[in-house]
Symmetry: C5
Subunit: 325 residues, 5 copies
């Protein structure tokens, strides 16, 4: 578990790390804004301590600790509760890893709960400490928006990676060397499904948020949430387009594989078919009948060769006409 606090007021900004919630909160200036971030939930006592101080509903605490939640937004008397998912990668095979991020937004404090400690918010922290952009001039909801915006921006990194992956598969799909790319494509598709599970409910949640009372979301922030909503809709849109593209790649690949197989089988079968009658003919003159007039006839051997060559050529022409070659 890691605990950090960023506070800022007109006079300045400061960042602190502590082992306990109580220690951390000593750095808070109630007149300014405070952003508390907790990573990892191995110490539920500290979560409960936070809940106590900020009067967080027991169901919210349960939702924070259960990291299998769908993205959602809930209004409580004292705070807004937001669950969303950030996306990361796990080492082996580029499998996507979903991490839950929960936000409790009170009047002048944002508490973020991260499932694992990560470096998501480094950029945001710097902007606060350097007083870059609008961030230090605006309230807690704007800070929460900035956190959510940082999470959503990361989605596009992974969507772009999938887009690039699909383009690679488009080439591999018609490549003769690649034997079976379907399992690899399915892995890509599973990643896409994971992103979809994250993006779709978020779309609704942010829309809900944008429609909250102006007590909750100040009027001047509405365009920001609309913009965030647009981004999530666009992510959802890309997911759907990629699904269709993947379906197309699979179709192309199946047709390419079956086409190649057909060609192999056809040529090989044609070779067999040409030799089968010829082998029959040489078999005929390998028979040991006493009375076979052809055997005694001197030019029979070259004539046989001529006939066989004519048959072979005739069959090749026939196959050509029928477009089997």
């Amino acid at each position: 578990m890691e605990l950090s606090l960023i506070g800022y007021d007109p006079a300045g900004a400061w960042i602190k790390n502590e082992q306990t919630v109580d220690g951390l909160l000593r750095h808070r200036n109630p007149a300014g804004l405070t952003w508390i971030n907790m990573s990892g939930f191995d110490n539920t006592a500290e979560v409960n301590r936070l809940a106590e101080i900020f009067r967080i509903h027991p169901l919210t605490v349960e939702d924070i600790l259960d990291t299998n939640h769908r993205p959602k937004v809930e209004e409580f008397d004292d705070y807004l509760f937001v669950v969303l998912k950030s996306i990361g990668t796990e080492g082996h095979e580029g499998e996507l890893d979903l991490e839950q991020i929960a936000l409790v937004i009170t009047e002048n404090t944002v508490i973020s709960f991260q499932e694992k400690s990560g470096d998501f918010f480094d950029g945001l922290r710097k902007r606060i400490l350097n007083n870059a952009g609008r961030i230090r001039r605006m309230g807690a909801v704007y800070l929460a928006w900035a956190v959510m915006d940082a999470v959503v921006d990361r989605y596009f990194v992974f969507l772009d990676a999938i887009g690039t992956g699909i383009e690679e598969f488009e080439e591999r799909a018609v490549d003769e060397k690649d034997q079976n790319i379907i399992p690899d494509i399915q892995r890509l598709k599973q990643n896409l499904l994971r992103i979809r599970r994250v993006v779709w409910p978020l779309r609704e949640s942010i829309q809900t948020m944008g429609r909250l009372d102006s007590d909750r979301i100040p009027v001047e922030l509405a365009p920001f949430f609309k913009d965030l909503h647009d981004n999530v809709v666009q992510a959802a849109d890309s997911v759907e387009t990629y699904r269709e593209l993947i379906a197309g790649v699979i179709e192309v690949n199946l047709s390419a594989v079956s086409n190649r197989m057909n060609n192999v089988m056809k040529v090989l079968t044609i070779i067999s078919t040409i030799f089968i009658p010829l082998t029959f003919i040489v078999g005929v003159y390998g028979m040991n009948f006493k009375f076979m007039p052809e055997l005694e006839f001197p030019p029979a051997y070259p004539i046989t060769w001529a006939v066989m060559i004519l048959i072979a050529i005739g069959m090749l022409i026939f196959f050509k006409i029928r477009r089997w070659l």
Copy 2:
């Protein structure tokens, strides 16, 4: 049929089993809360007796006794009527078994009707008797919520089992040994369909319930029903994701099977194709023509071998270039 009653009031909690409804109701304290559970409906007389005492509508009684109902919520003047399904397993082949649970929720009594007797509610009973959690401080609707929550929690056990099953199939799908896993996958899919039939209508029902008048559902319980609704939505979500994963596994398996088959056929056909012209050549020199000059020519035999070996090597090279090997 089993009949049990759990009653509790500020003074304490008690549990009783009786053979008849009238016997059972003697243990009721009308000032406290009462939970009556009936398992098995072989004795409809007792169901009717309950209906009479609690003024249950004849259509509700029909719905209780007909165990093929979809989950639903209905408001009556004197009570709320909830039908939902719990999931269990039947011995052979892990087939899922759906059991109907009906709840009649009056002001200070919850009556639950179970299709079969089971041990679903043991945990809940213990919590009441031990006065653990919120349960003894709150009213009948909270008790009903706790019953429904226990049922919904069990869904995830089976969903997780299906998730594990899908992962196993993902490995089997590309395993050369497994001949035909489609029938097994279909069995998994049927279980998933069964869960879906349970979960989807429940989603609506609980949403309906969360929107009932505050006379019916006290305001402070709204977050609990919202939480329950979230759980059911998440279950429905998992069902849909699993359906997509299963479709992916089937696609991978079909492509793996056809790939393997293609490889077998290709190699075998290539072997045939190489030997067919060679067999033709040896047939030629097996002919019995009197006048075949090659036959008398001493080095003809080794030359024939050399030619045949060259043809074989040439074909192998050709196949290699064409990437058929």
Copy 3:
């Protein structure tokens, strides 16, 4: 055309059959309730006579006579008009047969128009005549509900038959003997489609009906229409589940057929492949070259056999390792 009238009032109940509408209506007691049933529309004059007496709109008459209508509910000033479909079987191949039933519900009369004469309503008639159940205590709308309920109940008979049929196909799908079950499954599926065409619009219609003004549908009947709606929704639900099950059965069957075919082809191809090199070898020593040292060498024949057996065993081992056997 068959015409019958069932009338009942506090004093009793009576049933009459007549050839003409005017004859029939003499048996009516305007103070009680009347149920007029007409089967077969070969005599449109009598339909028009009924329309005249009960002031039925010309469009309603057209709808009654055109038996290809979708289920619907329409409000007119003097009556409610309901169209629904009952399901029957036609002799050959168990094809489902849809029969249109139209109801005109006035204040104290229900007129039902059946496309063909059938024995649908026998049970209902008996209940009225025997004064069984609620039916004689309640009004025309309840009577109409009872008619609709009888029709909907029959749906489940056919749905259950389809469910049983699907289970049979699940076994046949993996049965080696059954060559091609797809056409039979498609027939089942067409029956299912027929039921769906009946059930889906009915769902909406009954919902509409349940929401009509309390002038039309007395408040105490609302639960009955809700119950009927639940039944229709459940039927629609079963239809969807059966569609998915059928899709699963087809998938299993296709994979079983292709698996079996693959096995046949594989074993047969392997047999050919083993003998082809052997046949080449025996061909070599069937050549008639004068100078073939092996031919003179006494142990050559047994050695050749030994080599051929070794080749065959080697290929079998190779196939085994490659898991082609």
Copy 4:
């Protein structure tokens, strides 16, 4: 371009054809009802003249002249504008042909614009001239309804033809002679798609129309538009059912074709497989080794025959047991 006018008032009805709009309008009785029909738009000047007289919005004129519009209903201050499509056939291969029909409905005039001249409205014209049915007693909106009803009625002619076509394909799908019916089925499906493009948006349009103010659509006409809507919904319904039936026919055909192919390949492969070991055996005794004891052994030849027959029978039995025959 053809121009015709049908006028009627309490005194009578008359029909006139003229070359110009101005000529035509001289036959109009402003106190009665007028139906102007224009077929073919080669003379846009006349269209513009009509637009000027009836104050038709320039966008409406554009919509009338652009014959690629989707069905729609638009309210303007002075008139209702309706676009719908009628279906016809073009000579070759029974391809469906969509013709646009635009209606401008003013208080006492209906103007219909047909893309091509056709005989759609002959029946309607006769009914007006003969004063048959309600048509001469009612206003312009009823006349427009009658025109739309005539158009929609024609849809069913083509839907029925498609239904019959599907039944034919159901037989051809399992017929051994028919090699590849898929392209023909696809042509049927394209016709169905064309009808769907016409029917779906019309459904909405007519619903919109039925909900217009009673200034626009008199209350007593509401049932007529509801009836028309029912018809269109039923057409849409049939389209969907036919799509599913076509999908079923294709599935049946694919399974029948692959089944037949499998049977051919199986029998042929089995024949080869039986003869391959036998050919090997006769090859063995065609070898020219000096020292082959069997060759000298008198009963060797009949024994060889016996062995070969036994092998063949053994293989047939094996195939029978394995159900490959």
Copy 5:
């Protein structure tokens, strides 16, 4: 970056190109209407200058510069902001190229931002300068409508090209020469997907726009936006129809390819099958047994030929009866 300004007032119209925004705005007549067009965003300073002058929200500026946005409409206090996509082609392989066009619509100014400089608006410019049509009589919203209409009109050019492409594929799908058209079809389908991504969200946006307050969209312009919406809906409609047609083409092609392959394999297999028993027979009489009575029998050779010919004919007849030929 290219900057141009078109201004017009009752007195006349003028067009100017400048390098800087400030230079450009000197040509503006605030009493008339001004259309500013900026192509290419390499100089963000000028974009920001425009934003400053017209009080454009920072989020809008971000949206203008980020050219990956979905079509949308946003209301701000001082202006309407519209994003849409125009379609062009890129040289190689006819791939579609989407260009973003952003419009800022203030009371008397329209600012259009084009991603790349193109000749889209040449027709529109001429109409303004020549005072053709309604354009100079109406306000800024009408000008914006004209810009959007020009963009949407171009969609149909590409949709028609796709329609033509599909018709070509319909022929190629059943053409024996074409080996594998699936990858080409998929390319067409990807273009279709691109258009869909553009058209679908635009549909919503224009609907939103048509429903804006009459302060924003003057009442007399409502039919124009309705017409534009109709066009976009029709484009969306065509996209869906083309998707279905493409699916049909693929199905036809797959069945044609598999049909052709089946025919090839069947004929070739039949040839093999006929010769295999014959080859066995000639093998029998090639055996070197000392005691084979047939060998000594003079007419044995012609009899063997007769038997072989009979077998071949018999097999052909059998194949014919079984319809394998």
